[in-house]
């Protein structure tokens, strides 16, 4: 039920922010649409803790800020490589332990890895991620577990 | 009953008979009876029509002209499906219906005698062909004539290929190809031309083409018609006729001595008289080329006939040459020769059918088809061969057969118009006719039979009766030619 409410609220926000027309007709249509979408998605069984992270939602902005910083940093390093020394790359594949407890957490972690240039998640298993990196240095950055911790904090 | 209704009955009744025959096909006896009864009935109907027509002719001399005509439908403005009685058609109708009766008798005998297959189909198509013949006879315009002309072609095709053998099919294809090809390829355009020029296709006494076309165009048009009416078998459109001889003899007899070929020459005659008009056509300066062609056909066909040993083939070529007499008569363009042509239609009909009957009779009785096998057959089949002789006389044009009269008129016409070429042709061909008929008669009566041949007598009674009737008619017409003569004269008068 919590998830449904959360979803409804999210969808309502989406509608209102997109619409820009707040006449009675359109609003009631919006309400109907939301109801319909909720109905369909419940039937689809996609409304659950995985898709509606009610619990952790308030911590997400903070995490994003942190992640943005990481992204900017790694971007700079990759850009340098592209422009100045494409030959200096030294790709590698490695498995890294993860400490996330839920699939959602693992997904956030994996996507964050992918989102930062220079590292790409190849596969996710229960307690490991397989990562392809552009340079071995970035591998060590991952292995030190900073990001892992951040995600874990988000999750808890 | 008014003549108009009779006219329609005459055309539609055979179709009904055809349907009846189809239905009763499982019962041969009943079927044959229906054939006979309906043939008789039709003949009577035509006689009645003739009487009505005769009466109207008498009236005509008085005051009111009350033509006997029926219009079924107007397909295109100026293009009717309609019928109208006139002398030439009456003559043709009389011949056709009379001979159907005779042929029915003969045909029943022949088909039974030879145990042919598909007899129902055979007897069913016969009335259709006759209906078509009557339609042609009574047609009041070119279109109607053309329609029935095609109906006749199509309905006789299965008769020609009756045997169904590969050879028969091949001949059938030639038959159909030549007839349909010439009719659609030449005849129809000619009709269209006429229609385009005059806006009508009606048969009108004196013709409808006066002052409409230049002499050259007239000649071309005439050529289109003469050649387009393939059933008239003017060379080079004659190939179908010998080919059609694969048909059973009654078919050859009725259709290729009477209905089909006569429909052809009748059409030519009718077109010359009622579409061109004799006077108009005499303007056609290049017509003599056509006449040469026809004359050539007469002589050439006779010569070819000489060379054929197969009796029916020889008769077929004889037919080709005789038909061209009629066309020639039409092309001489004198009233007398037209009378001759009309008479010759009748004369040849009776004469040739007799000959074919005789040929069929011989085949039924002895399975002989070649002339060289006929030695001494006159002794075994005296009736048949007597009839054959009379027919042959008529073909040659000797008294006491009716052929004499018609040839006489043709000659007279040619003489009047001073067309010496035509006279020459007639004389030469008469000699040739004699040359190919006399040896047969000679063989039949004066040679002795080859040894070891099977003994046989006359063919069955139906056949004998039929051929006797036609032989008698040939002589009777010589003695009392007044009916055909009167009719023929009334054409010439017009």
């Amino acid at each position: 039920m919590r998830h449904i409410l959360f979803l409804t609220a999210g969808l309502a926000f989406l509608w209102l922010a997109n619409s820009g027309h707040y006449s009675g007709l359109i609003l009631s249509l919006g309400a109907l649409s939301i109801a319909f979408v909720v109905f369909v998605t419940i039937k689809m069984k996609v409304v659950d803790a995985e898709s509606q992270p009610v619990r952790i939602s308030y911590r997400i902005p903070l995490y994003w800020l942190w992640l943005s910083k990481q992204i900017i940093l790694s971007n700079i390093s990759v850009v340098k490589k592209i422009w100045f020394s494409p030959s200096s790359i030294d790709p590698a594949v490695a498995r890294i332990k993860t400490s996330q407890t839920s699939d959602l957490g693992r997904v956030i972690y994996a996507n964050s890895i992918t989102l930062t240039p220079g590292t790409v998640t190849l596969d996710v298993t229960e307690d490991e991620v397989e990562v392809h990196v552009l340079c071995r240095e970035s591998l060590s950055l991952l292995q030190n577990g900073v990001m892992d911790q951040q995600v874990k904090r988000l999750e808890s | 009953m008014s003549a108009n209704i009779l006219l329609q009955i005459a055309i539609l009744f055979p179709l009904l008979a055809s349907a009846l025959i189809l239905i009763t096909g499982k019962n041969p006896g009943l079927r044959d009876k229906i054939t006979l009864v309906s043939a008789t009935f039709l003949f009577i109907v035509v006689i009645f029509i003739y009487r009505a027509f005769d009466a109207s002719l008498q009236v005509e001399e008085g005051t009111a002209v009350k033509s006997i005509a029926v219009n079924w439908a107007e397909i295109v403005p100026g293009l009717h499906l309609g019928f109208k009685l006139e002398a030439l058609g009456m003559l043709f109708a009389l011949i056709a219906s009379a001979l159907w009766l005779v042929t029915s008798i003969y045909g029943i005998g022949y088909m039974r005698g030879n145990n042919e297959k598909n007899q129902t189909r055979f007897f069913m198509l016969f009335p259709i062909a006759i209906s078509a013949a009557l339609g042609i006879a009574f047609a009041s315009n070119l279109l109607t004539l053309f329609i029935f002309y095609e109906v006749m072609t199509l309905s006789t095709f299965p008769l020609v290929t009756h045997k169904g053998s590969e050879h028969a099919m091949k001949s059938g294809r030639i038959y159909l190809g030549v007839l349909i090809g010439s009719s659609i390829g030449l005849f129809l355009p000619a009709i269209i031309w006429v229609w385009a020029v005059t806006g009508t296709t009606d048969f009108v006494a004196g013709g409808i083409l006066q002052d409409k076309l230049s002499p050259l165009h007239l000649s071309i048009l005439a050529a289109l018609f003469v050649l387009g009416v393939g059933k008239a078998a003017v060379m080079p459109i004659h190939r179908w006729l010998p080919a059609a001889m694969v048909a059973p003899t009654p078919v050859s007899a009725l259709l290729h001595a009477v209905a089909v070929v006569k429909a052809g020459v009748f059409s030519v005659l009718k077109i010359v008289v009622y579409v061109f008009g004799i006077d108009t056509l005499s303007d056609a300066s290049y017509l003599h080329f056509l006449m040469y062609l026809v004359g050539f056909t007469i002589v050439m066909a006779s010569i070819i006939a000489l060379g054929h040993d197969n009796l029916k083939k020889r008769l077929a070529y004889s037919t080709i040459s005789q038909l061209s007499y009629v066309v020639l008569g039409a092309l001489i363009l004198s009233p007398i020769s037209v009378v001759g042509s009309a008479l010759h239609i009748a004369a040849h009909a009776f004469g040739k059918i007799t000959l074919f009957f005789a040929a069929g009779s011989i085949y039924t009785a002895s399975k002989k088809t070649e002339i060289s096998q006929l030695d001494g057959i006159g002794h075994r089949m005296p009736w048949t061969m007597a009839a054959f002789t009379i027919g042959a006389l008529s073909m040659i044009g000797l008294p006491p057969a009716v052929g004499f009269i018609s040839k006489w008129y043709l000659l007279m016409g040619a003489y009047d118009e001073q067309v010496y070429f035509a006279m020459g042709v007639i004389v030469v061909s008469t000699l040739l006719n004699a040359a190919y008929f006399v040896p047969i008669i000679y063989r039949a009566f004066f040679k002795t039979e080859a040894d070891g041949s099977k003994p046989h007598g006359e063919a069955n009674k139906a056949i004998v009766v039929a051929l006797s009737i036609t032989a008698c008619m040939t002589i009777l017409l010589f003695c009392f030619p007044n009916i055909p003569f009167a009719l023929a004269q009334s054409i010439a008068v017009q």
Partner: protein, 103 residues
């Protein structure tokens, strides 16, 4: 104030575009599929982010537009790593071998 906003926005746009071109270039300069993927992710992540934020600065006060830009950004942030991840996984499964530096 407006000038400031404009300047910031231009700066962001310019750097975003630069990153995009860089990504495209990387697509060329890197030797194999997996390494190229890193180059592509430059565009996806920071490149698009900068451009969108830059655009957002162009429309002071029109929150509707900003919201829409935000949706686009969030959407890209969700989908692009997912897509690249799926792609990489598929490639790996299909037998593509990561390029290794010759030593």
């Amino acid at each position: 104030m407006n000038f400031m906003l404009d300047a910031i926005s231009w700066f962001l746009l310019a750097s975003g575009c630069f990153l995009c071109i860089t990504g495209g270039l990387g697509l060329f300069r890197f030797p194999d599929f997996f390494t190229r993927m890193h180059a592509a992710s430059i565009t996806d992540s920071l490149g698009s982010g900068l451009i969108i934020v830059g655009l957002a600065f162009q429309t002071p006060g029109d929150w509707l537009v900003v919201a829409k830009l935000g949706f686009i950004l969030v959407f890209i942030f969700f989908t692009s790593p997912t897509a690249s991840h799926a792609l990489a996984k598929a490639a790996l499964h299909a037998g593509q071998k990561p390029w290794q530096k010759q030593t």
